[in-house]
């Protein structure tokens, strides 16, 4: 048995000043009154009677305030939240607290306030340094605000991450390259680069359906992906996941790594997901539904699933292949590494031939090309347990 890593705590704050046209997260707009009621409900969820899903967790060593836009909440409201978390939930000695923020919310006062609350990492929703691209993405800040937000955050001593989006319609590779260059010049600790994905139900999906969309082709997107990885690696930001780049291991986001490493996490707030190593459950995603259940003293869980060993294995493989470290088959619960290797001999040999991965003992280690094809590889790996093989 390996000693399992400490669990992480995620808190979802769904409010935004406006909904971005690409976003399919559980988000909502709402005035201060509604936000006030939300905080009360969140405090109530944290303080739910013991005996609930909140029980029995080892101390959390990471806390992640995501959204939505946590920075849209007043600092003192956030303070009530962190205080309540500290009072009610088991925390490690020095948990790393991360928080998402929008550039327009970043001022010297707010940054100082967040630092005061114990926030260590700030993930800034920059998305682009180009005014036209920002307008297209429906963002509420301009390039100057973006730069200012990064500088202020860095000056306050926080660990700073920038989110960027690529693969916009009509975006040329040089235009994307300029965004990357600008990001690197600012010397943040961490950069996340997400390919724009048109998710169902978003404003972009509607525009795409109406044909107002000149989406880049598969080859162009692949080109952008590889360029991004090469450029950032050269600039001192090697990838540690498909979309995440950091100056060094200490700058990586420990909370997000838990998702890819199969660690346990507890989620609070609307739509938040929790995982205890065997089961995953998630809260109602509409804020009013979640809130009305919590206000009535109920369990805001919308649904749950208990993962079969095969399902856990598939997740383990699909997530592991997203990282350059790959995955250790020895950690696959209920499977013998040799058995998995033997069953997939042909697939793995072919993937190795094509330069997608290497098999190092019991580890599968993807190359960059392999990370780009992580879904296809995960799909082709057979994870059936042989009959008569007893699990533990």
């Amino acid at each position: 048995m390996t000693t399992s890593p400490s669990p992480g705590l995620y808190v979802h704050i769904p409010f935004c000043s406006a909904i971005c046209p690409y976003c399919d997260f559980a988000v909502t707009t709402g005035g201060s009154e509604r936000r006030g009621r939300f905080i009360e409900a969140l405090l109530a969820e944290i303080g739910r009677d013991r005996g609930s899903a909140l029980d029995g967790w080892d101390p959390f060593d990471t806390v992640y305030l995501g959204g939505g836009t946590p920075s849209a909440l007043p600092v003192d409201e956030l303070g009530r939240l962190t205080a309540e978390i500290g009072r009610r939930l088991p925390l490690a000695d020095r948990p790393v607290i991360s928080m998402e923020a929008n550039p327009e919310d970043v001022t010297s006062q707010t940054v100082a306030g967040w630092a005061q609350l114990g926030v260590d990492r700030l993930s800034l929703g920059i998305q682009s340094f180009d005014a036209v691209e920002l307008a297209f993405l429906g963002r509420r800040h301009d390039p100057a605000q973006a730069v200012r937000a990064v500088e202020l955050s860095l000056a306050s001593g926080l660990t700073v991450s920038l989110d960027l989006i690529y693969g916009l319609p009509e975006q040329s590779p040089p235009a994307w390259q300029r965004n990357l260059e600008r990001a690197v010049e600012l010397e943040p600790h961490h950069i996340s680069c997400y390919q724009l994905t048109v998710e169902p139900g978003t404003a972009f999906a509607r525009r795409s359906r109406r044909g107002e969309w000149n989406a880049p082709g598969e080859d162009d997107l692949a080109e952008l992906f590889f360029r991004t990885h090469e450029f950032l690696a050269t600039a001192g930001y090697p990838a540690y996941e498909v979309s995440n780049f950091a100056r060094g291991p200490r700058s990586q986001c420990g909370h997000n790594r838990k998702y890819w490493e199969g660690a346990r996490y507890l989620g609070l707030g609307p739509s938040a997901h929790s995982f205890d190593g065997r089961s995953r459950w998630w809260n109602h995603s509409a804020e009013p539904v979640w809130r009305s259940v919590v206000e009535a003293g109920g369990n805001p869980e919308a649904d749950r699933e208990t993962l079969s060993l095969e399902a856990r294995a598939l997740e383990f493989v699909m997530l592991g292949l997203r990282t350059p470290c790959g995955l250790d088959l020895g950690k696959l619960d209920g499977f013998e590494p040799e058995d998995v290797l033997r069953r997939n001999q042909r697939v793995l040999a072919r993937a190795a031939d094509e330069g997608l991965l290497s098999v190092e003992g019991e580890r599968l280690v993807p190359t960059l090309g392999g990370m780009a094809r992580a879904d296809a590889i995960a799909r082709s790996i057979e994870l059936r347990r042989s009959r008569g093989f007893g699990g533990c």
Partner: protein
Amino acid sequence: MKNVRNFCIIAHIDHGKSTLADRLIQHCGGVDEREFRDQILDSMDIERERGITIKSNTITLDYTAKDGKEYQLNLIDTPGHVDFSHEVRRSLMSCEGALLVVDAAQGVEAQTVANLYLALEYDLEIVPVVNKIDLPSADVDGVLEEIEEDLGLDPFDAVPCSAKKGIGIEDVLEAIVTKLPPPKGDPEAPLQALIFDAQYDAYRGVVLVVRVKEGTLSVGQTAHFMHTDKEYDIEELGLLRLEREKRKSLEAGSVGFVIAGIKAVRDIEIGDTLTDADRPAPAPLPGYKPAKPVVFSSMYPLSSDDYPDLIKALDKLALNDAALTFEKDSSVALGFGFRCGFLGLLHLEVVQERLQREYDLSLLLSAPSVRYRMELSDGTELSIDNPALYPDPTLIEQAYEPYIRASILLPERYIGAVMELCRERRGEKTTFSYLAVGRVELTSELPLAEVLFDFYDRLKSMTQGYGSFDYEMLDRRPTDLVKVDILVNDEPVDALSQLVHRDKARARALHYCDRLADTIPRQQFKIKIQGVIGGKVIARSTINAYRKDVTAKCYGGDITRKRKLLEKQKAGKKKMMVVGSVEIPQSAFIAVLKSDSSS
């Protein structure tokens, strides 16, 4: 017998035949308002959705006419599509008269003319009915003119109505009673009854629908089926109202049902004549023609586990569809399946849809083919409808393919485009004649194979919906045939092989290659697609290797969703056909086989 009228309704698709039938039924109290569903006679889902009648239904109605007398009206429904013209013929043989429905907005169309000629062939009395007079675009005077000019019927006999709105229904019923003749026949003569339809009843077996022409049909009689030379004892008979109504006998002139312990529709021949075994008629009724399939395609279940279900489903369909033929077939790419014969493309589609809908089977169909005849150098002859059985081409002395005579009605202004379409499709003796000012009937002798692929769609679009099309089988003519194979990474996909005219081979092969390139998803490696005749490549396309498919974001809330998607894709992958280690999804076969616009 004087108060009986046997009639059918004939019309072009969509001119409102079924709606009119429903109104007549409703007016005669065959069904009360509560039960009344639109288009009672079209009971299959597919019929309802497409607004066409495939399987005919027959019903007996009671009508008290303005002369104060009670009439028994036997409405013999006819299928409204060219594929089923043999069924139309049998229905017409059971009637003395027909209502010829013409849409007041659309006017006379090719099928209207074709149906009229058929009806006249059987000496039916015709009453024109101008339907949909309520439409804003209705042009009743124009249609009356067409009835006179195009059809040669007396426009003063025409009855205007709107079946949808219930206008003029009484006038239609009065016309049936006053203008159509009663049946003739002698109840005492030796029995001759025409089987013009049959349905399968899960409890009673085959239910025959018959028209008694001469003599009397009674319960307990031993019926002799004159063409198939079989005998069955009549267990039950009667009238077809909304439910079956038992009688002791059916006399000359009547239409009704017969149950005689018959297990499957294929045990009998529709169009056969029933006579009394003890007192037989000297000869069967004239005009018997067995239905012959002209279009062939192989059907494969997507999952080989479904093969036994496909056998069962085809057996069941055949209980009720005597025209459907099938025999075992197999494909390297697609596994075991059946080679099926159909009356036409619509028949094929109907069967496919019924198998998918009613039996929940996912199927792949190979490209439809006609049946070719080949004279081989050793003097033997071969009939081939399956490319898999194509002989060594050096042994073929001469191949022959079936031709049809197409009749196309269209406004004059489209004639150039449609003549070009016929030329492109290897039409011969393409000529036209004016039916009336601005309206033309174009006839062309076309290879049936050329009509199988989107001919009708092309015609419709190039005439903006005004062109209509009907055909009859002609003969077989010499042809220059080649077999085109499609290779994926150098391995043949046998289900995509086809027999085509040499002049069309390249275009067809290119079309297939392009379609496959569009629909086969990119894979880990480059995919080469080729169209070949023998060893010679005549078309090619390539699919570049996939480089990236990983999703950008995968955090707490995304993991379950992502895993489920992968699980689904994994299961889907098992359903894919693998040819030359290339995964070909069902959608690619469908895209290639479904709409073909080679030209």
